[in-house]
Symmetry: C2
Subunit: 238 residues, 2 copies
């Protein structure tokens, strides 16, 4: 068996833990391998003590989140990671600051999702977005989407508390039918408002919402990130 020529993936986890397990599994399944030794070296730092990202944004108390993410990124770099990923959409607001503290690349899940949307669904110019209030307020998706002339439709403000409650219920008790039903109902509203695809823009959402419950393509950023991480680790992006 030759020495592994591939890059080591560093995964900042814990936001939430189930979403971390989900991304880890997606990376393993996306790896072309026929035995243990052909798989990728993946370091996971599942530190769930990172403060709630949406609360930090809404209360303008960002430093504790930045400190935790930075500590994780630096631990992963010290342990041998060649590049970093984080399966939490809202945490991407802090990506540029965390990048300054390490010397390895940090893949951007939101960038990967928008790029994939343009590649896989070029005819669809209006996309719906289900996400945390933190992700909506910081315009993480619209800012990237505008660059490629994609229009992002968000749920009406009156629906957002139900979306947040459903996200928290997935974090608390795992995928559940009540949360799935909220996500499906709000997604249907986005489609009625013109969305030709829907982004499941919080990593807890696709844990509960099945693609068959949405009448347009449901884009899962965790799957896009897994595919991008495997390509990068294998050197296929070089």
């Amino acid at each position: 068996m030759a020495t592994q020529p591939y890059k080591t993936i560093g995964l900042l986890g814990g936001m939430g833990p189930e979403a971390t397990v989900d991304l880890f599994r997606r990376i393993v399944r996306a790896t072309p391998a026929t035995c243990d030794q052909e798989h990728l070296h993946i370091l996971v730092d599942n530190d769930p003590s990172v403060p709630d990202r949406t609360e930090a944004l809404l209360s303008d108390n960002l430093e504790p989140v930045v400190e935790k993410l930075t500590a994780m990124a630096q631990r992963l770099e010290a342990a041998g990671a060649d590049f970093l990923i984080v399966p939490c959409n809202t945490a991407h607001y802090f990506l540029d600051r965390v990048r300054l503290t390490v010397s390895i690349p940090f893949l951007d899940m939101i960038e990967e999702t928008v790029t994939s949307l343009c590649r896989e669904h070029p005819a669809q110019r209006t996309v719906g977005l289900l996400a945390t209030t933190g992700t909506l307020r910081t315009r993480l998706y619209p800012r990237r989407a505008e660059k490629v002339s994609l229009t992002v439709v968000e749920p009406p403000a009156t629906d957002q508390p139900a979306v947040m409650a459903a996200i928290h219920s997935v974090k608390s008790r795992g995928a559940n039918a009540d949360a799935a039903s909220v996500f499906a109902r709000v997604a249907a509203g986005l489609v009625a408002a013109g969305a030709q695809a829907v982004i499941a823009g919080c990593t807890e959402i696709p844990l509960a919402l099945d693609a068959t419950s949405v009448s347009v393509p449901l884009v899962n950023p965790a799957e896009e990130l897994a595919q991008a991480a495997v390509r990068m680790a294998l050197g296929a992006d070089a």
Copy 2:
């Protein structure tokens, strides 16, 4: 939110990657938590370049395995792990040597499984064992079982090549019906030979074999290890 008072779990992974994802998920689900911040800090080093443990044992080429396991254990300790676990039964043959190289405890999945068997199924004095050829040859389970007067029944030598092929097929293409059927058939043979419970003694086996396919209790060492790790992390063993 108070600072996490819990111990950090260090998980030596990659043997195989799917079994690593499975144990990680079991730990998350076994943790009593209602939000991200109540979950446990878990460090996973999924290094699949550890040579095949059974091949190393059968060819008496142990040092490359010891070196890889030691490097992972030391990386995890350096990153902040308070204790270690490894979701690979065969790798437990090397546990005593790896323990010498770190200053933190290393939970023993085989010990936890035998202890749980005695606690949960006290009337059952004969257990069947499905495992790799490496785990069988090194008598990892019988050596512990003898101490508590448990008798371990193994498959006939003529069945073992099929068990190994099924384990490798799970590593290669995930859980599959062919592997499940081999495991169920050989487990039925163990029951016919007197087994009152069956240990799924290779972490790939319970990925494919459902407990309902076996007429006696099927004991999953990965679940026993997950429960023990959560107890230790929460300080419930103190």
